[in-house]
């Protein structure tokens, strides 16, 4: 299908973009467009105006700021994949990026777009939650930062209000004793995950503590598996796998049954624990 008619405006600056979306409450921000244009083509969405923020160089930077790594919303997924600073300071994100769709899509798709679109099966929302990250937002009332855990509100729903633009994601820079794990299952490389898991922990001697386990593809938004985290803190992997029965509420869909997803959640947990116990995290 083809998109319904819309007007198009190319923003010259972030302030210009804010003015444009401020004047048209139903406007959509066009970043990489890899989800948005598909929804336009299918007429799942028919905004009166697209505000194109491609070209706003100020949103396209990766910077280490003290103990935090900041990734501009417009950084392309493919560029992020090759970025040495992201590999060093956010290895969990670096590991997740190759799982996002296919090369031609990552060439356009952006870090901020993936987070703001909030697809429940997407990798980056789970990563920023697992890392305890923050999202930088600009809007009519200025700047604000929202914790990743509070940003995702439901199916494709976020804390972004009318006229607001996600400008950057920020995650604590990896420390030497941090351990990360990432795994997902999809029928074909690059397809949306049937289920996936982004995880972080801290090494204390030979054991791991401070687990953060965030599943994606099993609910309306990233799901933290707190029961499993608690069991793992006691070193109880079997208990953690069992706890997933209470932590997760997967549903049936055309891709997999709830029972299959529940089973696969345990498979991923064991894989990810194996990764985190490995020397190189």
């Amino acid at each position: 299908m083809k998109p319904a008619p819309f007007a198009y405006a190319k923003a010259r600056s972030l302030d210009h973009a804010l003015a444009l979306v401020g004047a048209e409450p139903d406007a959509k921000i066009l970043a990489g467009g890899q989800s948005l244009v598909a929804t336009l083509n299918m007429r799942l969405s028919a905004p009166p105006l697209l505000v194109d923020i491609n070209g706003l160089g100020e949103l396209g930077k990766v910077a280490r700021r003290g103990d935090w790594l900041e990734i501009g919303a417009l950084v392309r997924q493919r560029d992020a994949e090759r970025d040495a600073e992201i590999a060093r300071s956010a290895p969990l994100i670096a590991r997740a990026l190759p799982h996002i769709a296919h090369p031609a899509i990552r060439n356009r798709g952006t870090i901020g777009g993936s987070v703001a679109f909030a697809d429940p099966a997407a990798e980056l929302p789970a990563c920023v939650v697992a890392l305890g990250g923050e999202l930088d937002i600009r809007g009519p009332n200025g700047r604000r930062a929202v914790k990743a855990a509070e940003f995702f509100k439901g199916l494709f729903e976020t804390a972004l209000g009318p006229g607001e633009i996600l400008t950057a994601i920020r995650v604590p820079a990896a420390r030497g004793d941090d351990r990360f794990g990432f795994a997902e299952l999809a029928r074909r490389q690059g397809d949306y995950a049937l289920i996936g898991l982004a995880a972080k922990a801290r090494a204390a001697g030979v054991s791991l503590r401070d687990f953060s386990l965030v599943y994606f593809g099993v609910g309306a938004m990233p799901v933290r598996a707190r029961g499993a985290e608690k069991a793992l803190a006691d070193g109880d992997i079997e208990g953690a796998v069992a706890a997933l029965a209470d932590d997760l509420r997967p549903e049936d869909d055309v891709h997999a049954t709830a029972a299959a997803r529940q089973h696969l959640a345990g498979v991923l947990l064991r894989r990810v624990i194996g990764q985190m116990r490995g020397a190189s995290s």
Binding site: K2, A38, L50
Partner: protein
């Protein structure tokens, strides 16, 4: 200014193009309908099949997920242009020799995607070839012959270096 119709200027296969277009027109439709470059195919129109793959400023993109208006000021290359320059003549010959195409619908996208892989990785493994081509559907060949062709070209290009 926000407009439903926009003036754009770009180069397509090295030739300057200036048009006034509907903002909602995808790059793939613009190439096919306005420029009669029908080697770019339109399949699923939501990013899954890869038949619409073209190059914009040197990197492959989905022609159905980029608006033509976004290509203002860009350098666009289609299968026609890349064929004419001879850049992928060896890949095209290998596809023909190994029956890596049957109906040909996926072939332009497949070739451009394979070419991007070979430009960044001179000796990709078969697994890597499959991963890189994972976003391009072929409903005829079963992929085996396509992977064979890409692998053969990688080896042949390395032998020439």
């Amino acid at each position: 200014m926000s407009e439903r119709f926009c003036d754009i200027a770009m180069t397509v296969n090295g030739e300057a193009v200036e048009e006034r277009i509907d903002a909602r027109k995808t790059l793939a439709d613009f190439l096919r309908e306005d420029l009669a470059l029908t080697g770019t195919h339109v399949g699923c129109e939501h990013g899954f099949c890869g038949a619409c793959t073209v190059r914009v400023d040197g990197t492959i993109v989905r022609g159905c997920l980029m608006l033509a208006v976004q290509c203002d000021g860009s350098r666009v290359e289609t299968i026609e242009g890349v064929s004419d320059t001879g850049e992928i003549a060896d890949l095209q010959a290998a596809f023909a020799q190994r029956n890596a195409l049957q109906c040909g619908f996926c072939t332009p996208g497949m070739l451009l995607t394979a070419q991007e892989l070979l430009a960044s990785d001179a000796a990709p493994s078969r697994v890597r070839i499959r991963e890189h081509l994972s976003g391009n559907y072929c409903r005829c060949t079963g992929y085996q012959a396509i992977v064979d062709a890409v692998e053969a070209v990688a080896l042949a290009r390395n032998a020439k270096r």
